[in-house]
Symmetry: C3
């Protein structure tokens, strides 16, 4: 029986999978963070959530938006907009016959950029910190897109 590692470069695939898992965990953690902050700041979107923290008028009062909860939700949405396209592009890129060194460089810079973007968004750091994290992530993704295009999407 043929093994997968006889067909694809497993060092690149493992590097892809490892960094994909890291940024997916980072992105997923935004959900419990939002939930925790909604409870801590008493700022709910659903009446059935607010009633656990107060009855009648009190529950009504907790149906509100909180600036910091909204900040985390914007960060989470920015993750969806940037990390998910990266996951697809980096997957295609892993089949182009790229060297492990070049692939690792792309995956590491992207991962570091998105971790920095997260910190810059949460603290927040003054601009252009967040913009830098965001921009580097986009640049890495487009670098992979250019290389995919350049070799005519010639997969292994």
């Amino acid at each position: 029986m043929t093994k997968l590692h006889e067909i694809v470069d497993m060092s690149v695939m493992k590097a892809y999978t490892f960094h994909a898992v890291i940024v997916i965990i980072k992105m997923m953690l935004m959900s419990p963070l939002t939930g925790y902050l909604r409870m801590k700041n008493r700022a709910f979107a659903n009446p059935e959530d607010a009633v656990a923290f107060g009855k009648g008028e009190a529950a009504q009062k907790y149906l509100r938006t909180d600036p910091y909860v909204e900040r985390v939700r914007r960060l989470h949405r920015n993750d969806l907009e940037n990390i998910i396209p990266y996951l697809f592009i980096a997957f295609f890129y892993s089949f182009t016959g790229v060297s492990e060194t070049t692939a690792l460089m792309h995956f590491r810079i992207f991962t570091a950029a998105r971790l920095f973007h997260t910190i810059a968004y949460l603290l927040p750091l003054p601009q252009p910190s967040r913009g830098l994290g965001f921009g580097v992530g986009i640049a890495v993704t487009f670098s992979m897109i250019f290389q995919l295009m350049w070799n005519g999407l010639d997969l292994l």
Copy 2:
């Protein structure tokens, strides 16, 4: 010519694909549901949509948010935040050499949890119903992440 089933465990891949298709259909159905409710409740986000239901001031009046439309949109966004990470993690997980039984258990529990989460959000059911559906989905995804990590991302 080598066939794909000689390389990967097709029983796990088929189980993955089947459950992926189910949760993708479920997620996609939130779009027409939003559209239907926008028309039914006369609550539009775009002026070009509202004008079909009234002219001048009437159209202006229908540019509003409706609590139930917003509920469905929050559900849809929650699907994006949870189902898409799952689709990637479960795909990687299918290459770890996991047994069909263990894989099926993960895929079935996740799918059931997200269907229950959907019902709990739409009715709505009192909490912690929705929280349970959400939490079980996250737990299944992290169970797969731990197993990916545990065997050092050792794909087949």
Copy 3:
């Protein structure tokens, strides 16, 4: 060493990858467009962004929503809701042994529909233009889902 093209139909995979990259680029471009319009229309979500364009009260004044910025954000979210499910379904579909002609027809119609949807949303064109782009995209995705289901998810 076995090559990937000995196992999967590379003409279909290349067609998939090419059209995936096109719609991913299209979707990703919504991010810088939002950023550009936020600066042009002075409509920011984060205080640390607004301070670059005014101090004190002026910065506060720029923390607002702009109808056109919100339009682009709705378009971007609609892309996430439609293009990402398509990317998964079309990937599975590429392994069903579908002919290159049939696969290309699906990928081209979806890509054209989403480009038209984008134009219709940005200008905006009167309805049902945007609805048509949206609906054709959904129809193509469900056509692939039906074919996946029909042959029992029988991958190559």
